[in-house]
């Protein structure tokens, strides 16, 4: 079998699987943050900044997958 096909499947799996966990995590985090914002509208600014930082840390995981997908793409001859 053509090795390029394996690279393509690997890239797709890398980005596809790596988005699962961060997707769930970001959903939970933003849900809680929105709940907090709704309860205490006076600290919306602080919550938003902290939420963005948390989301950025979670997003890094998905980005690792994306980077690996790019690397595998680059290997396709």
């Amino acid at each position: 079998m053509d090795v390029n096909g394996f690279y393509a499947i690997g890239a797709a799996l890398a980005i596809g699987l790596s988005t699962l966990g961060p997707g769930i995590g970001q959903g939970l985090a933003s849900a809680k943050a929105l709940e907090g914002m709704a309860r205490q509208p006076e600290i919306i600014g602080d919550l938003r900044t902290n939420m963005l930082i948390c989301l950025a840390f979670m997003e890094a995981l998905a980005i690792y997958g994306l980077v690996f997908a790019f690397m595998l793409f680059g290997k396709i001859a």
Partner: protein, 161 residues
């Protein structure tokens, strides 16, 4: 994943140049402008507060002054009223005294007049009586004697009265 160190050096040096340029061309002048404005606004707020404090003090002074003058005016009015009362009393008293005096004088005059009139009437009566008596007794008497006599009678008559 390609990492090109030449490109990395390009990015780093250009970014540092950009940062320095932005610092001297934008951030520093903007900060100076903003600081100057802040200082000015702060100074103006302080001035306004000073003015307000002055105005408040002046207002308090004026209020106190007003209260004092009102008090003074009240005092003056009270004093004037008292004076007027006293004066009124004096005037009334004086008028009453004057009236009394006039009444007394009138009484005295009346009495005097009465005396005078009575004296005249007495003289007249004496003369008439003397005339009548001389006519009756046909005898001319010494005028002085007559008069004495008549006066004596009249006095007697007055006492009897």
């Amino acid at each position: 994943m390609e990492i090109d160190f030449a490109q990395m050096i390009f990015a780093i040096t250009n970014f540092i140049i950009l940062m320095i340029a932005m610092y001297f061309l934008m951030y520093k002048p903007l900060k100076q402008t903003m600081d100057k404005r802040q200082d000015k606004i702060k100074g103006e707020i302080e001035t306004a507060e000073q003015l307000k404090a002055d105005a408040d003090q002046m207002k308090a002074e004026i209020t106190a002054e007003l209260a004092k003058s009102r008090e003074t005016a009240q005092e003056i009015i009270v004093r004037a009223e008292k004076t007027a009362e006293v004066q009124k009393d004096e005037i009334v008293l004086a008028a009453r005294a004057e009236a009394q005096k006039m009444i007394d004088k009138a009484h005295a005059e009346i009495r005097e007049e009465k005396e005078k009139v009575l004296g005249e009437i007495r003289d007249e009566a004496a003369t008439l009586a003397m005339l009548a008596a001389s006519k009756l007794i046909e005898r001319s008497l010494n005028d002085t004697d007559h008069k004495q006599l008549v006066d004596k009678y009249i006095e007697e008559a007055g006492e009897v009265q």
